[in-house]
């Protein structure tokens, strides 16, 4: 345990005293403090006071049989401290923490949907993930849920189309999604507009929820690896790495150094092509189709490298438990380096364009401003937080893979507008190029993979990876078999989606796509 963790443990036991029921460790070396269901807010309060930048990283529910365990994973000083509490299954009620942490809103709604926990005092505890006509007392992630053939008719045919069409008074109700040209993926945003000004936004996600967390409990760890990779096509290596690191922590195995470097390589390639995809898409959203076409052309270079390295263009299936699946052939290193040099030159051109093109600046500067305070309150992660001047990056805070040995900078901008969020990504591409060059120069020799047992001993682990869109969070609980007891995935977009309401309300309707795209939303991630 580090100094900060010791301090926090001391502080918590000081403040809470006898309220602490138990202190346990989540692998690798993360504190988890159990309190009873009445004093979880005291514990959270005490934790929030330790760091003004503290926020909720994830809220995990676990079915323990008679009770449901709720784990509040709090991010403070760059590390995760977990407050755990239990509520009885029959009468699952707990005080909402949205008054302490605004960003807990969606996390609580998700747990309410999937575990049937009622959060008292929550401002808007409506369905977020499940369909409107899903049976009322069927909570999919409870172990006893019979979801083979849910009786949907029991609930009647609840349709949300009636509320969609009603325009109240002066305001026109515009529905963006589930099918809309600005959204490639199906989610719904109801905008109430007055002329061209957006007055109110109501997001609704869950249209393509696939129940990955439930499906993961029915598969072995190795099968789950393929499953979690398919949560998001773009950042698939991040999901795979995050899951593998969590499982490796429970297994207590150490990955060979060469594998760590190769993981860093694929993670940075992931980041590059994700950011380039987004920047091109941003061009499309503000009607700058030339930028879109140019960016996506250059992105092909990265895709080609990924194909050379892994054999696949998109879903790489490169990272595996115990290392990586394929070695990096020596002869490809100079090829990749040459392509990186070419890309670096192009990034200079794009940076000039982003900074100087008048129409592009008019559409993104001072649009969708998210202040640093709001960013912290809403617990946003990744480039969205860094664009608002919050200095957070899991790669620096808790280095994994080879990031501890690799020199790189965290890119932050203080403006907090769409332009800043896009610039963060543009600069991060350049940083990624540097990281890749460093990795290629310094990759150690040796094995790239070790064999691991299929049966995983009982234990729990949490792991975080800095995905292109921000902090990706995994919680894995093992019960000593080849099948996990619980896999919790908190994707970056799920943490960021709430901030869209904040940045778009009061703005122009023409700015909705521009500010929305600057969050780099990935709904395939959000609807696990």
């Amino acid at each position: 345990m580090t100094n900060i963790e010791n301090e926090i443990t001391a502080l918590l036991s000081n403040r809470l005293g006898e309220k602490i029921l138990q202190t346990r460790t989540l692998q690798p070396d993360k504190i988890c403090v159990s309190v009873d269901a009445k004093s979880h807010k005291d514990a959270l309060n005490a934790l929030l006071e330790t760091d003004e930048n503290a926020g909720l990283s994830a809220l995990t529910g676990v079915d323990l049989g008679k009770t449901i365990e709720l784990m509040y994973h709090i991010r403070t000083h760059g590390i995760i401290v977990t407050i755990s509490t239990e509520v009885p299954k029959e009468d699952a009620k707990i005080k909402s923490i949205t008054d302490l942490i605004l960003g807990a809103n969606f996390h609580e709604r998700e747990v309410a949907d999937l575990f049937g926990v009622t959060f008292e005092g929550h401002p808007n505890l409506k369905r977020l993930i499940l369909a409107e006509d899903w049976p009322k007392n069927l909570f999919p992630l409870r172990k006893d849920a019979e979801i083979v053939n849910p009786n949907i008719a029991e609930n009647g045919n609840v349709s949300s189309s009636d509320e969609q069409r009603s325009d109240d008074g002066e305001l026109v109700n515009i529905i963006v999604g589930p099918q809309h040209p600005a959204l490639i993926e199906p989610e719904k945003f109801s905008l109430k507009v007055d002329g061209e000004i957006v007055k109110e936004i109501e997001p609704r996600i869950g249209y393509v929820h696939r129940g990955v967390e439930k499906a993961a409990e029915k598969r072995t760890y190795l099968q789950d690896l393929y499953l979690v990779e398919r949560i998001c096509g773009i950042c698939n290596a991040c999901h795979a790495t995050c899951f593998c690191q969590a499982v490796e922590a429970i297994l207590g195995v150490n990955v060979p150094p060469r594998a760590k470097y190769l993981r860093t390589l694929i993670l940075e390639l992931n980041r590059m092509h994700s950011h380039m995809l987004l920047l091109g898409h941003a061009g499309f959203e503000v009607g700058y189709e030339t930028l879109f076409q140019y960016m996506w052309r250059d992105r092909e270079t990265v895709m080609d490298i990924v194909e050379q390295l892994t054999g696949n263009r998109v879903i790489a299936s490169f990272v595996t438990i115990g290392g990586v699946r394929r070695d990096l052939p020596e002869e490809t290193i100079p090829k990749i380096k040459a392509q990186m040099t070419a890309l670096k030159g192009k990034m200079g051109f794009y940076k000039h364009l982003f900074e100087n093109d008048p129409t592009f600046r008019m559409r993104t500067k001072n649009v969708g401003v998210l202040s640093k305070q709001d960013a912290l309150k809403l617990c946003v992660v990744g480039p969205v937080a860094r664009g608002s001047g919050v200095n957070m990056d899991v790669r620096k805070d808790e280095p994994y893979a080879a990031y501890g040995e690799t020199p790189f900078n965290i890119v932050t901008y203080s403006e907090g507008d769409s332009w800043a969020r896009l610039m963060v990504r543009l600069d991060e591409i350049s940083e990624s190029i540097d990281i890749i060059n460093y990795v290629l120069d310094n990759v150690p020799t040796g094995p790239y993979r070790i064999r691991v047992p299929r049966i995983v001993p009982a234990g729990e682990a949490i792991n975080r990876v800095e995905a292109p869109r921000g902090e990706l969070f995994y919680y894995v609980k093992s019960n000593g078999t080849a099948y996990p007891e619980r896999v919790k995935v908190r994707t970056p977009t799920f943490a960021n989606i709430l901030s869209f309401v904040r940045i778009a309300e009061g703005g122009n309707i023409a700015d909705v796509p521009a500010s929305f795209v600057s969050l780099d939303p990935c709904f395939s991630c959000t609807d696990r």
Binding site: I174, V286, T290, A510, P513
Partner: protein, 332 residues
């Protein structure tokens, strides 16, 4: 003039209806090809040599598609506006001299410049009506954006169009075109540049393609249209683009007039007209490719704060220059 064969040929075949529609489709192909090449794409390649028949194929395909009229649209207006906007753009085209004279020879009257510009505005109003009658929020917003934008650029466009008329001392568009020994684009370049900018707004091209910004409001005023109505609405937009370029050619580039090397002057004039028009389309496509879309409030501010004062200034400058230039006989 009696209704003779030549008149019918002029109106229906060349330089009338058939020529205008086919030429519009050709220009559409040129636009798509230029834009694609600028954006590192191929553009149409499949239908006909180098894909030149693609716009025609698109049009014919749309004609065969199912025609759906949503139940709560304002029926009559919704059904009529695609045809009205198409026909009014084509009708306006008939007044422009294409091969030395316009298609309706007898309707070549003093002041037809004002008439043509008015018709263009009315045709734009039909586009607004098409969206407004759709009773779809996207269409409604697209339609109001058409009008908001029209308020911004229409007055500057009129003002700028009078500068060539002043230099030619005539409000007849044929006379303006034929009086340019030196193209007015070279004589009064500031007016030319401003006119091109205002025209981009009129034609709803980047950075002013706000009324049908697909990432914000889907298809704008076209959203509810399908089948043959959509085909005519799209064709009307394409004719409008060619018409806009044609007005630039007539006012600033000397119209169809140019050197006649041998044979029929009709052929050469039509050729010069087509070449000049394509040049204007290249400029317009270039602007489309290098700009992002502005916001409607930014356009309104830009129109009233910059475009309008600048066009008044340019008119004043043109008058000043004209008083000095015109006496120098032979210059104009």
């Amino acid at each position: 003039m009696s209704l003779d064969i030549e008149f019918v040929f002029n109106v229906l075949i060349f330089p009338g209806f058939t020529f205008i529609v086919l030429f519009t489709m050709f220009c559409d192909w040129v636009e798509r090809k230029i834009e694609a090449r600028m954006q590192n794409r191929m553009g149409p390649t499949y239908t006909g040599p180098a894909g030149v028949l693609q716009p025609l194929a698109d049009f014919l395909k749309l004609l065969t598609k199912e025609d759906i009229v949503p139940s709560d649209t304002r029926n009559f207006v919704f059904r009529l506006t695609p045809l009205l906007s198409f026909s009014s753009f084509v009708f306006t085209f008939l007044f422009l001299p294409i091969n030395g004279a316009n298609a309706i020879l007898s309707l070549n009257f003093e002041g037809d410049l004002i008439f043509i510009l008015t018709l263009v505005s009315i045709a734009n109003f039909f586009l607004f009506l098409s969206g407004w009658s759709s009773t779809n929020p996207y269409s409604a917003i697209g339609a109001t954006r058409v009008l908001t934008q029209l308020l911004g650029y229409d007055i500057p466009l009129f003002l700028l169009a009078f500068a060539p008329a002043f230099l030619a001392k005539n409000l007849n568009i044929s006379a303006i075109a034929s009086s340019q020994n030196i193209p007015f684009a070279l004589l009064i370049p500031w007016t030319f540049v401003l006119f091109i900018i205002a025209l981009q707004a009129e034609l709803e091209k980047d950075p002013f393609d706000i009324p049908h910004a697909e990432t914000e409001i889907v298809g704008g005023y076209e959203t509810e249209y399908t089948g043959r109505r959509l085909a005519f609405l799209k064709l009307a937009k394409d004719v409008q683009i060619v018409l806009g370029a044609a007005i630039v050619v007539e006012l600033f580039l000397g119209g169809p007039y140019g050197p006649v090397f041998f044979g029929l002057s009709t052929f050469w004039y039509a050729l010069w007209f087509v070449l000049k028009l394509l040049a204007v389309i290249v400029i317009s496509e270039y602007l489309t490719c290098v700009f992002a879309r502005l916001r409607i409030d930014q356009v309104v501010v830009a129109s009233w704060k910059f475009l309008l004062p600048l066009s008044i200034l340019s008119l004043v400058a043109t008058v000043a220059v004209g008083l000095w230039l015109i006496p120098m006989a032979g210059m104009v």
